[in-house]
């Protein structure tokens, strides 16, 4: 053993540039055995570039990576895996048509008969042991596509363990799983720690960081800002380290006054998903919808917006019952929806910022069937300024923007269709604190203009900070409608867990 035997991974002076722009500049990290080390920073701080270097997807321009005291010169993912560095990606990389066991052993298949014949029985047995170890109750023979996102993540962890990983990198592992599943995940991480496995944990969720991390390293604009033990670093200082300035209150003061009822949902039901949901939304009001993952929050929003059909109930707009059979009907009736699934439903990656922003209101910019480029560009520029969308120009493709800016593009698109009601489903998922704050400010501006807002979020502080009233769901049933005064984290959780 070398001098630094308690450090499994030591990184010094790591730098990487892309076409002249420094993505990483003299970054360092010291990771002990059995330590959970949080890597924090806003989007674009360089976290993913850093991790891609560690797992051999990118080659650094300068710097040194010592793994168990030996310099690691891997520009190859296979080599990094062999050494014992595994990563669980935010966008889970699995093959849906293969079974759980086949996914776990993908690339390391067990064979028999002169290694020419796959031995599925062997990998099924091995997988069974692994799954038991992490407490995941699925058969190794189940096809991956039938698993929930959380279960898929567990399978990825099983895969890392089966690789004899000594360092597991987890990139936003909780972005798509429920609170209960988060608890299971944290249990597994604690087990891993006991076994001496180190975890590099990337997340934007402060609560999680303080629950699970021993050490916190912060990056900003590709530079190393500092490393502190989680116990010594309070939230405010952490945010200051990340943002580089102080943010005193995350939730801006509300100034809008409540107007008439704009939207009434009456006894809305969708078989097997939710039943008898009823609430009103007033002009200038924010109604929050809270509940655990799978409680039916997104399903309700999709039904109101016409993306899915509902089986019974009424949607009443300013006293008139309306029929909504497609998003088109919803948009015509002044309802806008910003989906939680930004990439799947939100924007069109291959189109430019301009073309995405005007997509839902394109008919306002035509003459004799032809699109009028001038008027289209004018509104797009205006919206980009209003929402402070950071892009190299309005012709930049949306794929190349950061998560926060992509979200603003989607919001801009919805706003241009001049909605009176806007439903925001997980509006700040996966975006950094600075951008979150701007979105909160934007929601306030909308309410001041008299727009009715519905916010769905799995982050309780966000729901509590933004909403005037809160609808709480549990397993598809509405268990409470709380006023701002009644609502606390505890009451919401109590109703969200109600049977």
């Amino acid at each position: 053993m070398t001098l630094h035997s308690d450090y499994i991974l030591q990184v010094h002076g790591l730098s990487k540039s892309f076409s002249g722009v420094k993505a990483l500049d003299d970054v360092q990290l010291n990771l002990r055995r059995g330590e959970v080390h949080a890597l924090m920073g806003e989007n674009g701080a360089g976290k993913s570039t850093f991790m891609k270097i560690l797992i051999g997807l990118l080659t650094p321009d300068a710097g040194e990576v010592l793994f168990e005291g030996n310099e690691l010169k891997n520009s190859d993912v296979r080599e990094a895996l062999k050494q014992g560095i595994s990563m669980i990606h935010q966008e889970i990389l699995i093959v849906p048509e293969l079974t759980v066991a086949q996914n776990i052993f993908l690339g390391r298949e067990s064979t028999q008969w002169f290694s020419s014949w796959l031995n599925d029985r062997d990998i099924n047995q091995q997988a069974e042991i692994l799954l038991k170890q992490i407490g995941l109750d699925v058969s190794p023979k189940t096809k991956m596509k039938y698993l929930s996102v959380a279960e898929m993540q567990m399978v990825e962890i099983a895969k890392a363990i089966s690789n004899n990983a000594k360092v597991i990198i987890m990139d936003e592992p909780t972005s798509a799983i429920s609170d209960k599943e988060v608890a299971t995940l944290f249990g597994i991480i604690k087990d891993l720690k006991i076994k001496g496995v180190s975890v590099i944990y990337i997340s934007h969720k402060m609560d999680e960081i303080y629950q699970i991390a021993d050490m916190i390293t912060v990056l900003r604009d590709g530079k190393y800002i500092g490393t502190k033990s989680a116990a010594e670093l309070d939230r405010k200082s952490l945010i200051t380290m990340m943002v580089g300035r102080e943010i005193n209150t995350l939730f801006p003061e509300k100034s809008a006054s409540k107007g008439e009822v704009v939207l009434s949902i009456k006894n809305l039901s969708q078989r097997g998903k939710f039943e008898n949901i009823s609430f009103d939304v007033h002009a200038g009001e924010v109604v929050g919808i809270a509940g655990l993952m799978g409680a039916g929050r997104t399903e309700i929003a999709r039904a109101i917006f016409g993306l899915d059909a509902f089986s019974s109930g009424e949607i009443v707009l300013k006293g008139h019952k309306i029929t909504i059979e497609s998003p088109r009907d919803a948009i015509k009736n002044g309802i806008g929806y910003v989906s939680e699934d930004r990439k799947g439903v939100g924007f069109i990656p291959a189109l430019s910022v301009k073309h995405n922003i005007t997509l839902a209101s394109l008919s306002n910019h035509t003459k004799a069937g032809m699109i009028q480029d001038k008027s289209e560009s004018a509104v797009a520029t205006q919206m980009m300024n209003d929402l402070k969308i950071k892009a190299s120009g309005m012709d930049q493709k949306v794929t190349h923007l950061s998560g926060g800016n992509q979200q603003k593009v989607v919001i801009g698109k919805v706003l241009l269709a001049s909605p009176e009601i806007i439903i925001l489903d997980e509006p700040t998922r996966g975006i950094d604190i600075g951008a979150k704050f701007e979105i909160y400010k934007l929601i306030n501006e909308l309410t001041t203009k008299g727009i009715a807002v519905v916010v769905i979020s799995s982050e309780l502080p966000e729901i509590l900070g933004m909403s005037d009233r809160i609808v709480v769901l549990s397993k598809g049933k509405q268990t409470a409608l709380l006023s701002r005064e009644e609502a606390t984290q505890e009451t919401i959780m109590k109703y969200a867990m109600l049977h």
């Binding site: 966008e91 990389l93 998003p327 990439k343 799947g344 189109l351 035509t366």
Partner: protein, 325 residues
């Protein structure tokens, strides 16, 4: 669930504008330069008139299928539509039967109908376009044989034969049709709402739907337009060979798809331009013409053509990943 195979996050830096878009144009110019250096016959007005006239039919089909491919679909029934529309037109084009406008309109109508039929089945049944149009490809061929009783339809009026064989001010009529079709298709794709929606549907169907776009209508439109353009090609071809052939157009769909792909249209949808497709079609024409002039047998021409299809897409992939680094 599209994200399974997504690369490990995109770099947020804007992809530098690679030569992807212009690569095929540069290749086209270079090939023309080389050909004009080694064979003096290549760069002459008469030779180019021949090239463009020959290219016109494939280009019309390629324009149609470009719309379809950008939405993420495919149309394998192009060749059969050429045959059916050609037979329908030729059956009504005997001298002294009807005015020439009747066979033309009937042919176009037949194409539009067949295209709409493709679109209707694809949007209603949710069966993949590849399978639906594979079916209608065979159905169409059968219909062409039934209508013509398996025999060529000849003895067409002079005016009808003018469409494929005549000139206006020395310019062959097919070239005029080609230019008009190119201008209209480009405008539709670049400047109209339909064009924007075509890109949107192919780029992300769910997001398009959530933006209030009637995705099925857009799909219906592209297959119908594709049928209409196939009819135009069918009428031109019938008129040029002065007979309606039930076996005409076999395999034309593959040349058309090749032109679109060489021109930079991605088969996964969401990208492509009419200019690219036109250059793709011209490139195919120029190469087969050049190889003819150099007395290379047609057997070798097929090998070269196949290599070019693959080469164009590989080149495009290199350009894109090079620009991304």
């Amino acid at each position: 669930m599209n994200n399974y195979f997504t690369q490990l996050g995109n770099s947020t830096k804007q992809r530098a504008r690679g030569m992807g878009q212009y690569g095929i144009f540069i290749a086209f110019v270079v090939i023309c330069l080389i050909l004009s250096l080694i064979t003096p016959k290549f760069l002459t007005v008469s030779n180019w008139t021949i090239i463009v006239t020959q290219v016109s039919i494939n280009a019309l089909l390629a324009f149609g299928v470009t719309f379809v491919i950008i939405t993420g679909g495919i149309d394998l029934s192009l060749g059969s539509m050429v045959a059916v529309t050609g037979i329908v037109a030729s059956l009504l084009a005997h001298p002294d039967d009807y005015p020439v406008i009747v066979p033309i309109l009937a042919g176009l109508l037949a194409g539009v109908f067949m295209g709409a039929f493709n679109g209707a089945i694809i949007t209603k049944s949710k069966v993949p376009p590849f399978i639906v149009t594979l079916g209608t490809m065979t159905i169409g061929r059968g219909v062409a044989l039934i209508l013509s009783k398996g025999r060529p339809v000849s003895n067409l009026s002079d005016l009808f034969n003018f469409i494929g064989g005549g000139n206006i001010l020395g310019i062959p009529f097919p070239i005029i049709v080609l230019i008009l079709a190119f201008v209209v298709c480009s405008l539709v794709l670049k400047k109209t709402i339909l064009g924007r929606y075509i890109y949107a549907v192919g780029g992300n169907e769910q997001a398009a739907k959530a933006s209030g776009i009637r995705v099925n209508k857009v799909k219906m439109a592209v297959y119908t337009i594709c049928g209409g353009l196939a009819a135009l090609a069918g009428i031109l071809l019938t008129s040029r060979i002065t007979t309606g052939q039930p076996n005409a157009g076999a395999g034309f769909e593959l040349d058309a798809i090749a032109a679109a792909i060489i021109g930079g249209t991605s088969t996964s949808g969401g990208t492509g331009t009419m200019t690219g497709t036109l250059i793709g079609a011209l490139l195919i024409g120029v190469i087969s013409n050049g190889l003819d002039l150099l007395n290379v047998t047609s057997y070798y021409q097929q090998v070269v053509m196949g290599a070019i299809i693959i080469g164009a897409v590989v080149l495009d992939g290199w350009n894109q990943s090079a620009a991304q680094r």
